[in-house]
């Protein structure tokens, strides 16, 4: 019985080299391309997904270590693209090239899941691992603050 992995609610067999990082399993095997390759070394955060709800750098996480785990990618963050962070990202016109933003949003979603009302310092500390070369940091900070307020209303 081969190992399986659950990606955005669907179960897939892990039928690749055990050492293959989750990033490449997602991108080249399942062809979920929303998760991006940026550095391959866990330095830039572009590849961030959730493993059982926790932000994880998929480029340095071997897929074989994730048997039976629930993976959420940007494509599965919400049913209709209406997670408070996704809405706040649009409201504040965060993306420029947009390449890093899936990782930014997934990282921020994990932050808010763990800490529903982060201080500015907590936001910055949590997001320090995610690089944006276009320089959208000011809007990222603002969007996370806005989303946190929205999430607080939902509870």
């Amino acid at each position: 019985m081969s190992k399986t992995i659950i990606v955005n609610g669907t179960e897939y067999p892990i039928d690749v080299d055990e050492q293959m990082p989750l990033l490449w399993f997602l991108r080249d095997k399942l062809e979920f391309t929303g998760t991006k390759f940026g550095c391959g070394s866990g330095l830039c955060g572009a590849c961030t997904v959730h493993v059982d709800g926790q932000a994880t750098r998929s480029c340095i996480t071997p897929v074989s270590t994730l048997a039976n785990k629930n993976i959420t990618t940007i494509e599965g963050l919400s049913d209709h693209g209406d997670h408070p962070l996704q809405k706040a990202w649009l409201e504040n016109n965060v993306p420029q090239c947009g390449y890093c933003q899936a990782g930014q949003i997934m990282n921020a979603a994990s932050l808010l899941a763990n800490n529903s009302s982060p201080t500015d310092d907590e936001i910055v500390s949590a997001m320090q691992g995610n690089i944006c070369r276009c320089g959208t940091y000011q809007r990222i900070k603002k969007a996370i603050r806005v989303a946190a307020v929205e999430l607080a209303k939902e509870v």
Partner: protein
């Protein structure tokens, strides 16, 4: 292939029909109404309506044509369907700068189109159809604003004429508003969709009437990026995301030294790995955008290909550039500018100015190589077949891909089909297409579509780098602190070296930005210092304005300090001293942004100990940007608190896009001012990834406030001009705070 990819591809082909070849228009024709029938015939898609090609006269090359390396011939397409849906193609390449929102919005505005009915597609590479698509030099808006407006205005006039025909009234009895034509006599309305086919048979007006500023519906407003909804759900498709049936994946190792050659490669271990298909050697061709020389591994996924590359045992003959060490080279550049160099431009009598001076001042400024490091590394998919070649690439210049692959394959450039994909950042790097050339070589070898994705390490080590540089300035002042003489020497490996390796110093054209700087100095001399290239030099966002802006903006502050004058007043004085009638607009607008930034920052206000505001202004790419940077300094720690950025780029198209460009320019300016440096040792780049090329992260983000001059002048670009004033303003702020003067970029280099 997975179903969601097939769906996406099918959707892609639905909106990107087989190339509808419209014969290229004579350059004097303003607009051409491609009839519905002929469009349908060639495009082969089941829709109808008004389809307009736009072809406008070529513009003369820009002043920095050699640096931009491209000509600019604007062109565009509008397709209005019978159901009212309006498709606007963006001919220029999108890399995050927002051009695919700003320009179509100008079309829609003049057309009186309902923005919610407009969809936008990136045009494939086709210069006969779209004019120049080379996207660089902050030129897209400057070149395309008026042609795009005319395209929209002509469409509107044709729709009005069509409605007038239906109602049998005069066109002057009708007007267009938000996707409808309205009959003034009885308030009857006809939708644009209803009129599309009729309008298609109407002659294109030669000189359509353009709106006045007060009539703008979208121009000058804050618009959302048209496809940002796709970004937040992971559905915006970048070059690196292309998937094709039967596609193979490649990874690559490049020759570490420019000009080196492959001695040997042992591929046995790599070929043993499961999933590895082939190992392919790539030789450079005679084109400056060619591969530098590399060995690639092809596999059934990217990761296996990357692992297999590590198993290759490659020996390179490194060649003459293996002597290159940037530490020594920069020291030599400093020597070369601190002694007499080659005369470039002379005005007045600099010797006399210095001998009559009340005071003199001199300083030397340096900067380093930079890697563009966009978040999406170089990647493309190429499929070379016997009678076709198709490319999917993040690129700033599809025509160069056509030329380079045409040269490599010995085919006509127009036979290379290039799909311009959304670039995950580019900053000048993706103007070059070495990574596409390589994918073509591999595809030809393995006879399949191939996706080549460079690793971050290869991307950082195989660049077209921003020039390492040194400048030395000497100035003389009279008793009143008026600058009477200015000697400026610059040495840096020029971008010209890429096209002509015999070049060993910056050209007169390369020094144009200092020779034509709007400071008013009567006695002036510029000199070019020896500075041959040992690596590939390319355009990096803001290009030479990075170091010219730094040296001039910092030196002006140093002069003000010596003259015991307030820097803003000193800058006013030096601009006011400019008596050249052709530069009066430059000085007026430079001073205006300077004052606006100063006002925004509260220039002159009292601040706590260790805090200060520095200011700088720079004119580049025909736009004016000033920045006032508020810092808090504690020992070596420099914390930027606020940046007030004032811009004058003429008529702004999208105020939100303009603001975003300035926020981004601050981030890029801060990275290069404080930290990023590419180091060469023995001819090869030492840096490898973001741990030793520390681009700015969120913790250092200051509060950026952007102040836009409300201007009726013709629009100019904003992609690059914001980068240059940051570093000098920061240097000036730190000096004002603690008395320490930084003259070398970056201020806090990492030892690698």
């Amino acid at each position: 292939m997975n179903k969601h990819i097939l769906d996406a591809m099918s959707a892609y082909y639905d909106v990107n029909p087989v190339d509808s070849t419209i014969a290229s228009q004579p350059s004097t024709i303003a607009l051409d109404n491609v009839s519905r029938r002929s469009f349908l015939k060639v495009a082969g898609i089941a829709s109808s309506g008004l389809f307009m090609g736009v072809s406008l006269p070529s513009f003369a090359g820009s002043a920095n044509k050699a640096a931009a390396g491209a000509e600019f011939n604007p062109n565009a397409f509008i397709h209005l369907s019978e159901n009212g849906d309006t498709l606007i193609y963006c001919g220029r390449c999108e890399m995050g700068q927002g051009i695919s929102t700003a320009l179509p919005a100008a079309v829609a505005d003049e057309m009186e189109a309902d923005w919610s009915r407009v969809s936008i597609e990136q045009a494939d590479g086709n210069e006969a159809k779209f004019g120049s698509q080379a996207t660089g030099g902050s030129a897209s808006i400057r070149k395309m604003f008026e042609p795009m407006r005319k395209a929209g205005a002509a469409a509107k006039e044709m729709l009005i004429l069509a409605a007038a025909k239906v109602w049998q009234v005069s066109a002057s009895d009708c007007y267009a508003e938000n996707h409808f034509v309205i009959n003034k006599l009885n308030q009857q309305k006809l939708g644009y969709g209803e009129l599309a086919t009729l309008a298609a048979n109407i002659d294109v007006p030669a000189e359509p009437k353009l709106k006045s500023k007060d009539q703008y519906r979208y121009i000058g407003k804050a618009l959302d990026r048209h496809d940002q909804g796709k970004v937040v759900v992971g559905k915006r498709v970048y070059g690196v995301d292309t998937k094709l049936p039967g596609m193979k994946y490649a990874a690559i190792a490049h020759c570490p030294v420019l000009g080196g050659t492959l001695k040997s490669v042992d591929k046995s271990q790599a070929l043993k790995m499961q999933g590895v298909i082939d190992v392919v050697g790539i030789s450079p061709i005679k084109h400056p955008f060619s591969s530098i020389g590399a060995v690639a591994v092809v596999a059934d996924n990217s990761w296996t290909a990357q692992q297999a590359v590590k198993q290759l045992k490659i020996e390179w003959e490194l060649g003459a550039n293996a002597v290159y060490n940037t530490k020594d080279y920069k020291a030599q550049l400093v020597k070369n500018v601190e002694r007499e160099a080659q005369l470039v431009t002379e005005r007045g009598d600099i010797k006399k100015a210095f001998s009559n001076a009340a005071t003199t001042l001199s300083a030397t400024y340096t900067g380093v190589h930079l890697s563009h490091a966009p978040m999406e590394p170089n990647a493309s998919v190429v499929w070379v077949q016997k009678d076709s070649c198709e490319v999917w690439a993040s690129t700033q210049s599809p025509a160069d891909i056509q030329k380079v692959l045409g040269q490599y394959l010995n085919r006509k450039p127009e036979d290379i089909k290039v799909h311009v994909m959304m670039a995950g950042g580019a900053f000048g790097r993706k103007f070059k297409c070495d990574y596409v050339h390589e994918a073509a070589v591999i595809s030809e070898q393995v006879n399949a579509p191939v996706q080549l994705t460079w690793t971050r390490e290869e991307d950082m080590r195989t660049g077209f780098y921003h020039s390492i540089n040194a400048q030395h300035i000497q100035a003389s002042m009279d008793e009143q602190g008026k600058v009477t003489g200015w000697l400026h020497r610059a040495a840096f490996p020029s971008i010209n070296t890429l096209f002509d390796p015999s070049v060993t110093r910056p050209s007169k054209n390369n020094l144009g930005e200092i020779d034509d700087h709007p400071f008013g100095i009567k006695n002036y001399r510029s000199e070019s210092g020896e500075s041959p290239a040992h690596t590939r030099i390319g355009w990096y966002r803001a290009v030479y304005a990075i170091f010219y802006g730094f040296a001039m903006g910092t030196f002006a502050d140093e002069l003000a300090d010596q003259a015991k004058q307030d820097t803003v007043k000193f800058l006013h004085n030096i601009y006011d001293a400019n008596t050249n009638p052709e530069q009066q607009e430059n000085t007026r607008r430079s001073k205006a942004v300077l004052d606006l930034a100063a006002k925004g920052a509260g220039w002159g206000k009292k601040l706590p100990k260790g805090e200060a505001i520095g200011i700088a202004v720079h004119y580049s790419f025909r736009s004016y940007v000033a920045m006032a940077v508020h810092v808090k300094v504690d020992g070596d720690s420099i914390k930027v608190l606020n940046v007030d950025c004032a811009i004058d780029c003429g008529q702004v198209l999208n105020t939100d896009g303009a603001t975003a460009q300035m926020e981004g320019a601050v981030v890029m300016g801060m990275s290069l001012a404080l930290a990023t440096e590419i180091t060469f040792r023995d001819g090869a780049v030492v840096n490898s990834n973001f741990h030793d090329y520390p681009v700015m992260r969120i913790k250092d983000m200051p509060n950026v406030r952007v102040h836009i001059v409300d201007s009726d002048e013709k629009p100019t670009g904003l992609g690059e001009p914001g980068v240059s004033p940051f570093a000098p303003a920061l240097s000036n702020a730190v000096y004002a705070a603690v008395g320490k003067r930084y003259r070398d970029l970056p201020f806090n280099p990492l030892t690698v």
